[in-house]
Amino acid sequence: MADIVLKDINKKYPNGFHAVKDFNLDIKDKEFIIFVGPSGCGKSTTLRMIAGLEEISSGELLIDGKLMNDVEPKDRDIAMVFQNYALYPHMTVYDNMAFGLKLRKVPKDEIDKKVREAARILDLEKLLDRKPKALSGGQRQRVAMGRAIVRNPKVFLMDEPLSNLDAKLRVQMRTEISKLHDSLGATMIYVTHDQTEAMTLGTRIVVMKDGIVQQIDTPANLYQKPCNLFVAGFIGSPQMNFLEGTLNADCTQIQVNGSSLQVPPAKTKTLADAGYANKAVILGIRPEDIHDSQIFVDTQAASVIEAKISVYELLGAEVYLYFDYAGTQVTARVDPRTTARGGDTVKFALDMEKAHFFDKDTELTIAN
């Protein structure tokens, strides 16, 4: 398979729109890399530059050490899977998978070998003679994947391949793609705006915003150690809560909406060393780090806030409690056995060991 290197890649359109700015990334052989970010962040554009469907304005793209900038897409040894796959209606599953190879004038016996091998991997062997209309949604999606596999490419590029599927099928196909990555041992680059897909599939994730890479890291690190406010807010669902507060002179306390919350010693040191004494900062706390149980409230007495619950949502295995605090809507993810309900005034303990602190102006992380 393949190593991919993107060096200072930029995409600037003729009208001046700078879609991707100084993108740098080393992708190791067999990695599963995810590009994630909100719509318009440049993730698909970057993927399309790797595919050769968009010209690279500046920078270098190397696949296995070879410069690819001016190599035709068909000669890059890649295969693509997109959101809007279509199966040729009059062709059988076999012919649908073979069609791309026929277009490229691949010998018949070689096509046969590749199609049957892909069908085996995807468990489509018994369906090879069927027409698309006789297939289920999941089977059709697998045929679309099969068309990419028969090319036997060095790199798989996938742009939101599951976006058109319903929620159940999406979860199922997510697992299948993960298995496929393991069985093919291929380098895969996958674009999504769905952070759950990103977290569950990727060995590393590239978070992008406004054409700029925000952070490249493992799913766990992105969640636990976001480098800025954007990444902290983007990764995790429900998203991290952000509260504005002011640190005291020795950074041991933060004042938020009249409540004084104790800052743990390790974070105190980092904040003090960085010169944030008496300064306003943004406190980030994930919904699961806000507790309403009496034990937590009693043991974390130095970091308790009180608020009136506006909405109670039972999701089965957990409950979301929504309340307004310091002019911001806050979400707490609590145990379903909670007795709290909408309209109740409840004490919440914030697990400050898990709190994040961000610079108010630069939005960069000060302490995780």
Binding site: N15, H18, H90
Partner: protein, 304 residues
């Protein structure tokens, strides 16, 4: 330069028509000493093409008809020959490739067509037209799905990158040139006003359709009066993206900050900074309209 380009255009058109005549009649025609102008020569040749019934395929008929080289009255007589029903609902898609498209791209499109009456027309080295026939007029969702499938399949299977435009489906053969022309205009407008879009619907271009027809002098006068070109060029892309998102989310601070994953206060700070620079506060509806139009006209000027 204009003269040279026209001359080349005339020659290539003339050669093409002569070739069609030759194919249909087996006679090799040549044009010697003619008193006719270039335009008259081409018209004469087109008449001969129709007269000799050169239209040798359904695709050829559609091509000549859509591009205005064949009048409705002449085309109608050939419909029966190619089993074309006059009153079938049809959708015309106009496709534009950044580079010259490949034979594979055309083969792939043809393979995707579900009905035998559907056609792919090769207009020139960068433009294709796809005509889809329907039993009942397709709804917008179906059209967009078809459009997306064409583009994604062209990229994934034929490694070819296209843009696509369309207008409303038509109910009869007569209206097809109008649909084709609207789709072509939609491509022009989309390329002018939208950065990275790949599918343009003529009916959804809204303000773009209106502004596209405003003379350049009027555009300059508008910008000069409201937000000068020089000021617009100083706005960073992050702010431009935020403004776009703010307009898309109906001027809602909460919704925009949520969708853009930024803190509400950051959004307010950026909008304040923009107001300081331009004098327009987009949180006010009237200012938002001025800014929206100015930004579109700015893109229009940049594309010129």
């Amino acid at each position: 330069m204009k003269g040279t380009s026209f001359f080349m255009d005339f020659n290539s058109k003339k050669e093409k028509l002569l070739e069609q005549l030759n194919r249909a009649t087996g006679i090799s025609f040549e044009i010697s000493d003619s008193d006719l102008s270039d335009e008259e020569t081409l018209n004469k040749l087109k008449e001969m093409v129709v007269h000799f019934n050169v239209i040798d395929s359904k695709t050829g008929l559609y091509r000549l008809y859509l591009t205005g080289d064949l009048a409705y009255s002449d085309a109608i007589s050939s419909l029966h020959r190619f089993h074309i029903d006059e009153n079938t609902p049809r959708q015309v898609f106009f496709l534009e490739s950044h580079h010259d498209y490949t034979k594979e791209a055309v083969s792939l499109l043809k393979s995707m067509l579900p009905e035998s009456q559907d056609v792919v027309i090769e207009l020139d080295s960068k433009h294709l037209v796809v005509i889809l026939n329907f039993e009942t007029a397709p709804d917008e969702e179906e059209v967009v799905q078809n459009a997306n499938q064409f583009l994604d399949m062209l990229e994934a299977e034929a490694f070819s990158s296209f843009k696509l435009s369309y207008s409303d489906a038509v109910d009869n053969f007569k209206d097809m040139p109008k649909a084709y022309k609207s789709a072509m205009v939609a491509m022009h407008i989309g390329n002018t006003f939208l950065h990275t879009g790949r599918i343009y619907s003529y009916e959804s271009l809204g303000l773009g359709r209106l502004l596209y027809n405003v003379p350049k002098s009027e555009v300059e006068a508008y910008l000069d009066r409201h937000i000068k070109l020089e000021t617009l060029s100083r706005i960073d892309e992050e702010t431009l993206n935020l403004l776009e998102a703010f307009f898309d989310n109906d001027l809602s601070l909460a919704e925009t900050s949520r969708k853009m994953f930024i803190h509400r206060n950051t959004l307010i700070y950026r909008l304040d900074k923009f107001a300081d620079l331009t004098g327009y506060d987009v949180r006010k509806f009237s200012d938002a309209i001025t800014v929206k139009i100015s930004l579109m006209l700015y893109n229009y000027m940049k594309s010129k």
